[in-house]
């Protein structure tokens, strides 16, 4: 397998006695939309936290563009070109939407003046479709808006790799379609590689180029949607006997 922009080998993460991620290998190729799926508690968010510097991992190695990310703090990870969103959307609640994104622009890698940062932030809000709300306080946004804001703030740091933690959870079908259009746009117009943790099988199968399936912290399958959808282990562990349609 060609070396991916994000590569993990033998990654293990324990919490006390609990093994969250176990000897996990994975590879994400540049420019692809890569899905990470598995049942609840499978270790998906833990893995994201390890990649983004929120947890140190216990053994194995995760590299981004060939550089080891272990022991990197979140600000260092950001400067390396990785950005993320959070399962429960996080924002700066008492700041305006515009200021939220401006903060990302100011600190996320390129040193710009505050005026230019606000201008860049406004452009980003155009790109992600939140312009109308730019003067609202972040805490006033509904869930889909918060998720979109989280993505915008992440984009403000000019990442090459974007980690999305359950971007669809809590969205209705219309909002889901809109969110996925945005994800596709991010890859196609900005060339950003995307690693997406999700539960929604339909969405993952539709949008991802490659998928890694994990269960109990271990990888049980990795490959394109067709391969994953028909893998016996995956069906047993996660999809259930009834799910035949891909």
């Amino acid at each position: 397998m060609a070396e991916g922009i994000l590569q993990g080998s033998n990654v293990t993460k324990n919490f006390g006695g609990l093994v969250a991620v176990q000897e996990l290998d994975f590879s994400v190729r540049q420019g692809e939309i890569h899905g990470l799926i598995g049942p609840n508690g499978a270790g998906k968010t833990t893995l994201l936290n390890c990649i983004s510097g929120f947890y140190p991992y216990d053994s194995g190695v995760i590299t981004f563009k060939g550089r080891d990310v272990s022991k990197c703090s979140p600000p260092m990870i950001c400067s390396m070109g990785i950005a993320r969103t959070f399962q429960i959307p996080r924002q700066f609640p008492d700041e305006t939407v515009l200021d939220n994104v401006t903060t990302g622009v100011l600190f996320g890698g390129s040193t710009v003046s505050r005026r230019n940062a606000k201008r860049d932030a406004a452009e980003l809000l155009e790109f992600t479709g939140l312009s109308a709300k730019k003067a609202s306080l972040a805490k006033e946004l509904p869930i889909p808006g918060l998720k979109r804001l989280g993505i915008t703030v992440a984009l403000a740091t000019k990442p090459e790799l974007l980690l999305l933690d359950e971007p669809i959870a809590g969205l209705n079908p219309t909002e889901t379609v809109a969110a996925m259009e945005l994800v596709k746009k991010i890859r196609s117009e900005r060339g950003i590689t995307i690693l997406m943790v999700e539960h929604n099988m339909k969405v993952i199968m539709n949008i991802c180029d490659n998928i890694t399936v994990i269960n109990f912290g271990k990888k049980i399958c990795e490959g394109p949607p067709e391969a994953v959808g028909s893998d016996v282990e995956v069906i047993k562990a996660y999809l259930g006997e009834e799910y035949k349609e891909v």
């Binding site: 600000p75 959070f86 700066f92 903060t103 600190f107």
Partner: protein, 311 residues
Amino acid sequence: MLNKKRLAIACLAILVAAVALLPCYTSGYIVAFAAIVLMFVVLSQAWNIFSGFTGYVSFGHHVYFGVGCYVSAILLSKYGISVYLSMVVAAVAVALLALIISGPTLRLKGAYFSLSTLAVAIAMHVLSLNIPGLTRGGKGITLPPEYHLLGFFYVMLIFALISIGLAILVRNSKIGFAVSAIRGDEDLAASIGVNSFKYKALTLILSAILWGIMGNFYAWYVTYMHPSDAFHILRLVTAMVGVLMGGVGSIGGTVIGAIAFGFLNEVLWARFSTIYLILLGIVVVLIVRFAPDGLLKGGQRVIQKIRAGRE
């Protein structure tokens, strides 16, 4: 709109001028009172610059005041240097202290941070009692006994304006964005590249320097310094209540809150000296209970309730 802003600035300028001319038309007692109130404006604003902006509640800020007091006390009494020179030394000493304290304390969260800052303050208080060679321990240090009321008053006025200016500058700068982000969600801020330690330390050092300078001039003014006065926790609480009354984080509010509490403090002290502290405690409790987001918002809520009651 432009007219409104100009009007506001004009009013403020007149107010400042009126205060600046106080010594010309009021008694020494009033000038002294005003000077102390102005000192609390500086202390409150400085505390606001760190704790109000970052959300890290420092419960040991009085240590910087105390160190400033002792720098001035020692330098002025032993070496007879000018208080303005000792101000510079105090600023440097306090900045170094803040830098050293930052290391172990700023990486702690919430209550752990607050309590560790308090522990440091107490340790310094106790230290000052126990190195009599330097600080003359509990006996205290007597500074050159000159009457500095006017000087003290104008220095306080100038620093009150400086502290407000600094607060505005910080708020509108890149540092301001950083600390707002840290206050809003520190982990999120880290994930978008904010080096939170650096910005917390910067604002702490700035805030500490102001407290240290205040201590420096305070000792010069009262001409006698001993540990319980230098490191008195009530000074910190007074500053915190001033910030609370104005709304935590608000620059203008802090000024108003500090002035209001300064008046309250003085009235209580002047009229009820024996039970002064009990009343002060009651006032603090009532303010926190009924106007925790500042008097302005508290007043608005009262008005709303009255209106709702009428309907």
